[in-house]
Symmetry: C2
């Protein structure tokens, strides 16, 4: 006779969790060794695949490293240092005209941690997160960590990846829907949502009791004189809006890992605060240098936006001149999704790194399939325009040549 104890034991095996198996790899993970191999062969690789800007981190931030005179690099408060919270409060007041209290702003380890905190606070394991597809690939990673399912609402390149109409959102509803997450301006599409779109999404959340997580880390990067509207600016959204923010792109300081979570819902703030207490504090050196941005004038962002707009134009003109390539003009962030005249963009991305070269140079792109939950996007790539204009011109030139050669193979 088998005892209960033996039965119980037999159910346990040393295997990883389901979520460990489900955890997505980075969309370019398979390509990275190919890029390394190409470089090892002496091929120069232009990286259009990652959003690491080449813009300098402001000297007023970097110079603060030399001013640190504390002899003990100790824990900061779990909420963030008072100085850093004040600088964020100042930023939201001057930039967005919002009067936020410091207990509505939580300093986080990059925008990444803010997303994870918000997911865990607002939804139970097995619940659904609705998002606009194509979406920032790491939303899937955080959803998997938090045990959530992602439910895509598909946007189309022909619409500039603006949101589909309300009835498409309503079709995505299930009894487990708890969260909508939007990225505005959008990584990976470069779309900047209009006020009407945002109000539609907010009304959808309000009517269906969903939290709206608004990832606004690309807020500053909007072109042609437009501006991105923060979800915090929408009327009657205090109880369900959670904004995810980051210094990474705003000040080209991706490596310092500093961001913030902003909400006027005191319960959400309090739950996230308890998670923040669990992990003790956000990075201290980052917070120390971050307050240096207070000496930046308005021209800082204006100059960067001007530069990115020119890059956007170089990219857009170059790409649309390639036969069979399609994209709408990106409105913000520094990404676009482009449709290529190929069947399988994954295969083409491999080709670029393993077979193609032109005068010892090639280009790396991120296949868009990793940014979709559905089977769409197979002939699309995501392009980040974080190179200077000359490099960008050459990268687009390489892409055009590669497409011609790829499509003329046997």
């Amino acid at each position: 006779m088998t005892s209960l104890h033996e039965l119980e034991q037999s159910e346990r095996t040393l295997t990883l969790s389901l979520r460990a198996h489900r955890m997505p790899a980075s969309p370019i993970r398979k390509l990275a060794p190919l890029a390394e191999a190409a470089k090892a062969r002496g091929t120069k690789v232009y990286h259009l695949n990652i959003g690491q800007p080449d813009i300098e981190t402001p000297a007023c931030m970097r110079d603060r490293l030399k001013m640190l005179d504390s002899k003990v690099l100790e824990y900061s408060p779990s909420t963030g240092t008072p100085e850093f919270l004040r600088s964020l409060e100042h930023y939201y007041r001057t930039r967005l005209g919002l009067d936020l209290a410091t207990n509505q702003i939580l300093a986080t380890t990059g925008g990444s941690e803010a997303i994870l905190f918000a997911f865990i606070a607002c939804a139970n394991e097995g619940d659904d997160v609705i998002l606009v597809e194509p979406f920032y690939a790491n939303y899937r990673a955080f959803a998997t960590m938090a045990g959530l399912n992602i439910v895509p609402v598909t946007s189309r390149g022909r619409d500039g990846f603006h949101t589909p109409p309300l009835h498409v959102w309503e079709r995505a509803l299930t009894p487990r829907s708890r969260i909508v997450i939007i990225c505005n301006p959008s990584n990976p599409t470069g779309t900047v949502y209009t006020r009407e779109e945002l109000e539609m999404v907010a009304e959808f959340c309000r009517r269906n009791n969903l939290f709206l997580i608004s990832d606004e880390v690309y807020r500053e990067f909007v072109y042609d004189g437009a501006r991105a509207i923060s979800a915090l600016e929408l009327a009657d959204t205090d109880d369900f809006v959670v904004v995810v923010d980051s210094l990474s792109k705003r000040y080209s300081a991706c490596g310092i890992r500093l961001g913030s979570l902003v909400t006027r819902n005191a319960e959400v703030y309090d739950a996230c605060l308890r998670m923040a207490q669990g992990r003790l504090s956000p990075p201290g050196l980052a917070q120390f240098i971050a307050v240096g941005v207070e000496s930046l004038g308005e021209e800082y962002t204006r100059d960067i936006v001007t530069e990115y707009q020119q890059r956007r134009d170089v990219l857009y003109e170059g790409l649309t001149a390639i036969p069979g390539v399609f994209l709408q003009k990106p409105e913000g962030a520094f990404y676009c999704i482009a449709k290529l005249p190929v069947e399988d963009a994954d295969d083409f991305a491999v080709y670029l790194l393993s077979e193609f070269e032109d005068e010892g140079e090639t280009v790396m792109v991120a296949p868009a399939s990793g940014f979709y939950a559905s089977a769409l996007g197979k002939n699309e790539v995501r392009i980040a325009y974080v190179l200077n204009q000359n490099h960008l011109r050459r990268a687009v030139d390489l892409l055009g040549k590669a497409l011609t050669r790829y499509n003329s193979r046997a």
Copy 2:
């Protein structure tokens, strides 16, 4: 007739998740405002409640801040920079005699992130984590974030909080048991587990197909010439041991938020790597300065350990001289759990901050109840001895006076 759509809608309410509600607050959260109020009254508060060492962060780390000449503070690799991983590899080789490959070491945002990654990789939502009670309170926070239940195996002060015998561990088994987490040397008890104890726990894990997460962030802090044995040194544990480590205490650099996860199980490493890719990279400035420790000689740790051992002795002699106070001599870390001659240590901790003062001074302790999952520990406090010896003597003196006065009240 109610449509299915309306039914579905009615099930959704804008409420936080269960785990948000379950997320524990910091054990000293209720006390913090009282400490602030005491300070506002002009009372000096000796903090025995937090593990923030007063030891200087080594100059060879801090000085590197002045050497940073990159103009763009960019993402590091998700795994950590090659330089930082090499410095960890060097540390494990020289300190523990272990030859680890860099793809067995993952740089993390403090030990905190390593715990969360390991929990998520090794267990499904609803699974059990077995741990020795009293335990590091934030294990409960990470378990809650990961959707796991904690199942305590109780250790007793009279045994110096060493592990109970095997049959007690076996009683904690359920069909959902997946992980054992130990902290060695232990926060909050100061216990350093013997090789026999560790081998018993490892054998328990092996026989029952459990992962063993060994939190070794206090590895260096062991007194009376003893040393802490790493779970990585135990035979035949490669497939189930995951070590959590941190630079916070080792180099008194708690605020930089840099740690590591070490495992020889390639699947666990790979799952944690995918989570690491999701959050992009560990803090970059921290990694840049961390490699400065390579110029530290052996005397660095020896001197600090000597200082902490003296503090431990001051604390132990002082506390045991107070009538009714009981503790075994702590063996490592810089904490102890002391039993006080009170019924309710939470109430006494409040008394210390709100009613007691002696020559304008008082002391703050952490009630031990927050370190227990069971109802035990009500008459215990956790004490961190991170003050210099004079301050420590005065703090113990204050504790004794407060106990006398507290117990002689009407």
